[in-house]
Each structure stands twice: as structure tokens, then as C-alpha cells.
Amino acid sequence: MAVREAEPVETLQEVKEAGLDREDLLSMYRNMLTTRAIEERGHILYKQGKIPGSFYTGRGNEGSAVGVGTAMGPNDVGTPLQRDMGVHVTRGIEPWRVFAQYMGRVDGPTKGRDGNVHMGDARMGLHTMVSHLPAMLPVAVGMALAFRIRDEKRVAVAWCGEGAAARGDAHEGMNLAGVRRLPVVFVIDNNQWAYSTPAHLEYAVDHLADRAAAYGFEGVVVDGTDVLAVYREAKRAIEKAREGGGPTLIESVTLRMEGHAVHDDAFYVPKELFEEWARRDPIERFRGWLRDNASMSDEEEDEITSGVKRLLSAAIQRAEESPVPDPATLLDGVFATPEELETPHHK
């Protein structure tokens, strides 16, 4: 079938046309580094026993997450998933709050009520995932429905894994979006594995972007290790949705570079696949591009790298100082009170 396969981004000129200046590019790079560093440091904290429950990372997906996050407008909203830490980082979450979340402290976005990457700050337009995949996808479609009803020029972005795309929720959400041509962009993080299940046991098409045609909108496949190509495609899709052009399904192809969660050594993924995709590391790739095309200097690079390091060390410390939730608050907030409907995210 004829989905479009997005071209890589080659030159600074192309990037400028897509609406990014040099500052933007450096800050995307910083966000990608921060994303990876959060997860690497989190992993260490987990091994140290400081993080309860389980621990998930999105290694390999930093470019995709940051690319889409950068393309979103200030009033856009989204429902990122377990590999999309880069979206939270790009939209401005302070890393110490992520660590507080990991550790189950009161300053995490869910105040210790939920854990790991089940988080989002509604003030940044990000709404927390649930475990049940992809249950938030039709919710994002409902957000777009609200924008349509109120005639607002806002867009919702819904993420989904290539595995989770097999579930009915993906279908019902995409179908409704197609029927009503709602301002929503679907991003499928296709990292080729769903836990231990390879993609060919999850779907029987060449590209999941092919599904778009079954719902009456456009599909595009993009190399998820190319942050700039992801950005360009996401931007195009988001602005199209904003202008009333309806949904787009973006399939962003990467490899999940680690196990499903930290307990999983991913023995079932062929070594050569890891090796092949290690050579396509999105951060390395973008770093090379920045040096070649945007003349990122050693000093700039050092400053970014060490800035991220400092940020994260301070963040971990601050998170560790965050209180553990008081058991007396256990039942607080099972139900909302009427006043709460006056929060900013609710406008």
C-alpha cells in the first residue's frame, strides 16, 4: 500500500523551513540528552533500591519523543506513553519531579499514587498514561472533539505502541477521528517489539501507517532515530490538523534498545539487530548532524552535557528530599470536589 515514507532531513536550510532556528536545535539536543540521562540515572536509582515497583526506559526513542514534543504548540495536548519521556522533558517537566515520581514521593506529578512513567502534568497539556494500552488514545480523540465543538485551533496528540495498536481502543479512537476529521495526530512508536512479541505477531501489514487508509486519513512512516525528520512530519501533521485537515497517523520506527523493563534482558531480540540499531542511535546521529550542519562547537557541546549532568544531580537530591506520602492521605482525592473544575487545564 501507498503510505508515504518520509525523507531524512539533510540540511540546516530544510530545518529552518520547518520552523526551527539554531537555538531550537540545541535545545532539542539538550532535551534528548536530558531524557536519556533521566532514564539512565533512574536505572541506577532503581538498582540501588530507591525506586519501588518496576522501571521502564525509552532508550532509542529520544529523538522521536523530542521531535513530536517540539512540534506541538503551546496549547496542544497529548497522551504520551512508556517510551516517551522526551515529550515530558520537551514540554518542560522539571527532572526532579520525574525522580520524585519514580520514587513515589509527594512532589511527583501523581503524588505517589501512581508510579514510574505513568505521569503527566496537565498544565503542560500532558495527560498521564494508564497501564492498559492504548486506553488513552480514544481519550485524546475526545480532547480533539472538545476542540472541534468549541472551535479552538488546538490539536491533540495520541501515542500508541505497535503492539498496542492491535487493541480495540486504537481502532475505535482512530475510526471516530476519521469520521469526524478531528484535530488529532496519532503517533505509533514502532520499536519492533511488544515485550517479547515481534511485530509480525502483532500485525500483518508492511507498515502500521497503512492503517490510516482504513480510517480515511493520511499515514506516514518516519525514521524515529532522525529527530529532525520526526519533527518535520509531526509539525506538518499537527498544523494540518489545526487547519481542519483531519488526522494523520505517523509511524515512527525505532528499536527498543533495552528490555521491556529492567528485569528483562531481551534475550529474544537478535544481537545483530541491537548492533545495527546501536549504530543509529538518535542522540549520536543528531550530535553528528549538529556538528556537520549547525557547526555545534566543542564548547557548546560541553556546556550542554555538563549542564544536563548538574541539572540531574541536583534533581535527584531534591527528589530524595521530597516527602513520602502520608498514609493518612490514602483516601484523599478518590473523588474530586466541585472547586477542582476551576483548574487551568480545565479551561
Binding site: V77, T128, H346
Partner: protein
Amino acid sequence: MATQEKTYLQAISDGLRQEMRRDQRVFCLGEDVGVYGGAFKVTQGFQEEFGASRVLDMPLSETAIVAGATGAALMGMRPVAEMQFADFVSCAWDHLVTVAAKQRYRAGTPVPIVLRLPSGGGFSGGPFHSQNPESSFAHIPGLKVVCPATPEDAKGLLATSIEDPNPVLYFEHKHLYRRIKGPVPEERYATPFGKARVHREGDDLTVITWGAMVYTADEAAAKLADEGVEVEVLDLRTLIPWDREAVLESVARCSKALVLHEDTKTGGFGAEIAATIAEEAFEQLDAPVRRIAAPDSPVPFAPSLEKAFIPQVDDVAAALRELAAY
């Protein structure tokens, strides 16, 4: 307040219209709610008045409807979604228990959605057009469950449901739609959640019930009254929250209690009420708390079977007599 005699159905319809007139954020969505006016005509004429963007005909997709409502609610809307029959809410179960019920607790973001759920049997609707799934939802922390029995409550509780910042399952009993009439205030009013209504006063026995069974209880109570036994009929009106105080007060007074519901017995919400009474009013009870409910089977289609399935006035009267004699 000026009142008008209305059917239960009309009260819901007029109440919903009133809410949509006063609050732009309120909108309706569901299957066939627009041009057709809903399978039971609750939203008849709504699309003409409010336009197609506030009265949305949705695809046959219960999850998309309910999850869509949640998304819109998170963006500040006040969606009122209709399930064509309450039975079909099973198709949105995951969304409701996984996302809607837990969202406020986990993420801090309220989900003010209302689901209208035409429920209940009595007209050979068979296993899939007759169920009373309220007990299943009453067990899930984070959801509110509303079961009006009178036209007045139907309107007042709908207003409260829409105002409420939480997911509300509003069960409207199909067997009451056109059968039950009563005075309904013209002005807007909001009937509080968690306050039972004394449908009939009495001092000898308490029946705790809701929905269509209020009338079954009342007819049984009338029989007992002829026999000199005064039965109090408490209409809970809402199951989550439910009015423990009113129940315990009545039981303390009457010392004997019967819990009645149309849903099946085992694990039904009647068990919660009976268990609570047994625990909290232990010292006041002069007889075991009785439960009457449908037996544990799907709702059968054939009238002969359905009649044996749904609790009947005579079943209730017999149980009340036994209790009175205890």
C-alpha cells in the same frame, strides 16, 4: 415552585434540555441521539435546538463514546453520553474502571462525565436489553452511581450528575419511562446525592431499595398495611454514595429490614447494604436482614421465565410477612 405532571422519561428529557440551555459546556453524544432522538426519544428535538455539534451521533463504538467523553471532560466540557441500553456499557467497562474511575486519584484531574444508562427488565427484552449493571460499578472506587425512581428525582439527580466533578453512571429504568408519572418542578433544582427518600413511612419493617423496585416494594407494603403491618420503603436514589445514616436510622426504628433489588443476588449491591446493617445495627435487629433479588441467571426472554426472574410483589410481600412474624 411551579410543577407539572410528567412521565419519568419526559422529566429526564426536559431536565437534560434545561441543563444544555444553561451551560454551553454540556453536550450529548451517543448512538442515534441526534436525528433519531435516541432509542427512547430522550433527546428528541435536541439536535434542532442545540445543533449537530452539541448533539452528536456517534459510531457504534461504546469505548470511543465514553473515552471520548472523558477526553472532552478533561478539556473542560460536560459531556452526557447515552448508552443505547445500559447493557452495552460492558463494552466501555475497561475505560470506566481503568481511566475514568482512577483519573482524579492518580493524575489529579477530575473527569466530569455523565453516562445515561437505560436499564432494567420487565418487557421480554431478553438477556441483553434488561440488565441492571449498577452493582458492578458500585464496587469500583471513583465512580458515582445514581438510580432515580421518580420523575422529580430523575430530573433533580440528572442536574446533580452533570454538576458533579466525577464520572457519574445515571441508570434510568426503562420500565418506569412511560409508566410512572409525577409532579416535576419547572425550575432547575439539584437533588443531592447520598440522601435516601422515604417513599412510604412505617415503623414495623424497613425495605431498602431503588429504581423500579421502589414500586414493587410499595405495592407489597400496601398489602402488609391491610394486614396491619406498617412497612417503611426507603428509596436510596443513589448507590454511590449511599445513605447509610438514613438506612441505619430506619432499621434502628423498625428493627427488621429487607433489601430488595432487581439485579441478581450474589454479589449484588444488596449484599453491601445487608452486610452494613448486620454489622452496624447488630444490636437493634430483631430478625435476620433479608435480601430479595433476581436469582443468579441471565435475564430470560420468555415472559414465563422473566416473571419468575424479576422479584414480584408477592415474593416481597411473602418475605415481609415472614419477617413480621419472626
